[in-house]
């Protein structure tokens, strides 16, 4: 018959919150993150028949969330706009619930300026709290690739925010 697919229903209330925060960390906009979270959860549910038994709903949905956010960013860049530009529009209301988004804007800008893959692994590892194995399952790539991209991202961030000064170019760390 083949491997039985796991089609049980998850706790959507908790799952939607985590997916929303992941999209918010990637997109830095509340409305875009809400739309992306909705789309990601819908896609994950419609394609739940393809989910393998050993994969949990969080990892399954996070993969779709990353792909949806990737599409949104690509579309915005094609239009010549950046996601962070819209936060400076006059109509943008200050939301107390989104105060976490405004903490440490320099670090968020630096993370957002990373290449796509490095940004995704950084957000999944440090802002969402996934392990290397979970990040590899979410992005569907080997763990070595995840560690390599993560190290490059952290080295870039250290070069910008390092307390001890510029990165020692003689040492590859």
């Amino acid at each position: 018959m083949g491997e039985r697919r796991n089609t049980d229903e998850p706790d959507f209330a908790a799952l939607s919150g985590r997916i929303y925060r992941l999209c918010l960390a990637l997109l830095r906009r509340e409305d875009a993150a809400a739309d992306a979270a909705q789309e990601a959860l819908t896609r994950a549910w419609l394609r739940r028949g393809k989910k393998r038994t050993g994969v949990d709903w969080w990892t399954w949905s996070a993969g779709f969330a990353v792909r949806v956010c990737r599409e949104v960013i690509r579309a915005r860049r094609f239009e010549g706009r950046d996601l962070s530009d819209d936060t400076k529009t006059p109509g943008h209301a200050v939301d107390d619930a989104a105060s976490g988004l405004r903490s440490d804007p320099d670090l968020q800008t630096a993370i957002h300026a990373l290449p796509n893959r490095q940004r995704e692994v950084t957000v999944l590892r440090f802002l969402v709290g996934q392990s290397i194995r979970e990040v590899a399952a979410t992005l569907d790539c080997p763990e070595g690739t995840v560690k390599s991209n993560l190290f490059k991202a952290v080295r870039t961030l250290r070069g910008r925010f390092g307390v001890s000064g510029a990165v020692d170019e003689l040492r590859n760390v």
Partner: protein
């Protein structure tokens, strides 16, 4: 031990995947090495900032998100046509299909004879008036349809020769042998009057080694 030995450990320390035992060795090394100690301090500072950002992100309350079932039902309602629209579509497709099947076909005289008449045996025509020669092909009038059919090529064409000049296109090269090969099946070698056809490809042709013009 030199600092190069601890570079892989520093890389794992940066990503937060360093196990406990190597971490202890690294911490012992940085007591003696100020350069590695500075690197570890930078990574610690960065990790603390990332942890604070993560904590503030966890405090954000998400807006109301439709459950996937509700969103999927809305999506289906917008994209899938209603039942009667689907039925009308099927009825229209059925009408078009019946019209195509029952459409009056053309008569035999108006058919293109290119494919149908290729199986006609190429024989010497009995009446010279039914045959006319072109510089390159023999033509014969079909007794069934009355149209003129191209029977065979007078001049066998080498495969390597381009047909219309320029570089020899593989598609054009295939056109010539296909016509001649189809004629081979209908050639009746027992009748001497059919020998006027180019027989350079026939198995028993005496002129097979001399591809060229047949007189």
């Amino acid at each position: 031990m030199s600092c190069e030995t601890f570079e892989p450990l520093l890389a794992d320390y940066a990503t937060g995947t360093l196990p406990d035992l190597p971490r202890a060795r690294l911490l012992e090394h940085i007591r003696e090495c100020p350069a590695c100690a500075a690197v570890v301090r930078d990574y610690d500072s960065l990790h603390q900032r990332l942890a604070r950002l993560r904590h503030s992100l966890d405090l954000i309350e998400p807006p109301y998100v439709l459950t996937p079932m509700e969103a999927a039902s809305k999506k289906r309602h917008l994209t899938m046509p209603r039942p009667f629209v689907r039925a009308a579509g099927w009825a229209f497709a059925a009408v078009i299909g019946m019209a195509i099947l029952l459409w009056p076909t053309k008569t035999g005289n108006e058919r293109t004879p290119a494919v149908v008449e290729l199986s006609i045996t190429a024989t010497r025509p009995s009446s010279p008036s039914k045959v006319h020669r072109t510089p390159r092909f023999w033509y014969q009038k079909s007794p069934r349809t009355g149209s003129e059919l191209r029977v065979a090529a007078r001049t066998p064409r080498l495969v390597t020769q381009p047909r219309f000049g320029g570089s020899a296109s593989p598609i054009r090269r295939l056109a010539t042998p296909r016509l001649i090969l189809k004629k081979r099946r209908s050639i009746r070698h027992d009748q001497p009057q059919s020998h006027h056809l180019p027989e350079c490809l026939a198995p028993d042709c005496r002129d097979r080694e001399k591809p060229g013009r047949h007189t």
